[in-house]
């Protein structure tokens, strides 16, 4: 399985947008905390890992992380 830097960057930005929007909606009292948490619990871990992949990935090709040994 190969993933490109651009792919994980997209995953990160989508995840970050979901997290920020859910938090914003909670602060404006449009959604309760339970709904905000229900969105953040799955979205936050994916966003974190996508961010980490994004900044360590090379610019060219799909060279990480599944190289095996």
């Amino acid at each position: 399985m190969r993933m490109k830097k651009t792919t994980v960057a997209r995953i990160f930005w989508v995840g970050a947008a979901v997290c920020v929007i859910a938090s914003g909606l909670f602060f404006t009292e449009l959604i309760p905390l339970a709904v905000c948490a229900a969105v953040l619990v799955p979205a936050f871990p994916v966003t974190v890992l996508a961010l980490l992949f994004w900044w360590m990935a090379g610019q060219s090709g799909g060279d990480f992380p599944f190289i095996g040994y």
Partner: protein, 282 residues
């Protein structure tokens, strides 16, 4: 809410750094700077990352996501003043996740770490009997109700001191370099997380920061009561100092001794809970 979550992770990692620094100073070593765990997380995120050929790929990746996810959930249960039982349920889930970490890699070190995680769970989880004592006093296991009880009757730390000691022992068993840290002992390299390197380990560090923050905050909420943010953070630092002293002056026990001591404490807690039940609710 995302900002609070990120700050909780960073503060949790800072607490782990203070923990390491204090242990080192008590043992007359210079030790790393207090922000070392934050640097550690960043360092791992820049390391080469792979999945071992012996690993179950799906589980190998999924456990990292689950580890962060369950403590994110615990953080929101804490913030919303939800049930203490849910947080302790997440604590038990974390044990299963540790087991998953170990088994997913296919490494014998990871497997032994995972098995030890189950062994330690068998002795740590009965310590949750302390929760029964809290329930007897406050008539509820919701954090918000426990806070209300303490506002009216004073901190449970004094009313139910043995229960606080048992909960302290539960937290101590989750701290690195502690007497009960049998899942990460050196003969297993890094235990259940041996093969989770690079980004996977950075994700695990994020989980550890959040876990530390949540467990310490829960302890203070349950046994001290309502605290403003500065006092909560100060209380967490005091608690981590106590934990660091406990870890620094006690050697890591063998798995057998670790389980034996925790089971003895559990037995004492059962007797205490029975006495409280007879006295408070005769």
């Amino acid at each position: 809410m995302i900002a609070e979550l990120v700050l909780a992770i960073l503060f949790g990692l800072l607490l782990l750094g203070i923990h390491r620094k204090l242990i080192a100073r008590i043992q007359r070593r210079p030790g790393p700077p207090v922000w070392q765990e934050i640097l550690h997380m960043l360092k791992f995120s820049f390391k080469t990352t792979w999945i071992p050929v012996t690993a179950s790929r799906t589980l190998f990746v999924a456990v990292v996501l689950i580890a962060i996810g369950i403590w994110t959930a615990a953080f929101y249960v804490l913030v919303s003043g939800g049930s203490l039982l849910v947080i302790l349920g997440i604590y038990m889930l974390h044990k299963i996740v540790e087991h998953g970490f170990g088994l997913s890699s296919g490494s014998p070190y990871g497997k032994y770490g995972g098995v030890r995680s189950v062994i330690s769970a068998a002795s740590e989880i009965p310590l949750f009997v302390s929760v029964a004592v809290i329930g007897v006093y406050s008539h509820s296991l919701d954090l918000s109700s426990i806070i209300q009880y303490q506002q009216a009757y004073g901190p449970l730390l004094f009313t139910a001191f043995p229960a606080a000691c048992a909960m302290f022992l539960v937290i101590l068993s989750k701290m690195p370099f502690g007497p009960f840290s049998i899942v990460e002992s050196k003969e297993l390299v890094s235990g259940y997380k041996t093969e989770h390197f690079g980004i996977w380990r950075a994700g695990l560090e994020v989980c550890n920061g959040l876990k530390t923050y949540v467990l310490l905050a829960v302890f203070l909420t349950v046994f001290i009561g309502p605290l403003t943010l500065p006092w909560l953070l100060a209380g967490m630092i005091i608690l981590i100092v106590l934990l660091a002293f406990s870890c620094a002056i006690t050697p890591m026990m063998s798995p057998f001794d670790s389980v034996t001591i925790q089971m003895i404490v559990t037995g004492m807690m059962l007797v205490y809970a029975a006495i409280v039940l007879m006295v408070v609710h005769p």
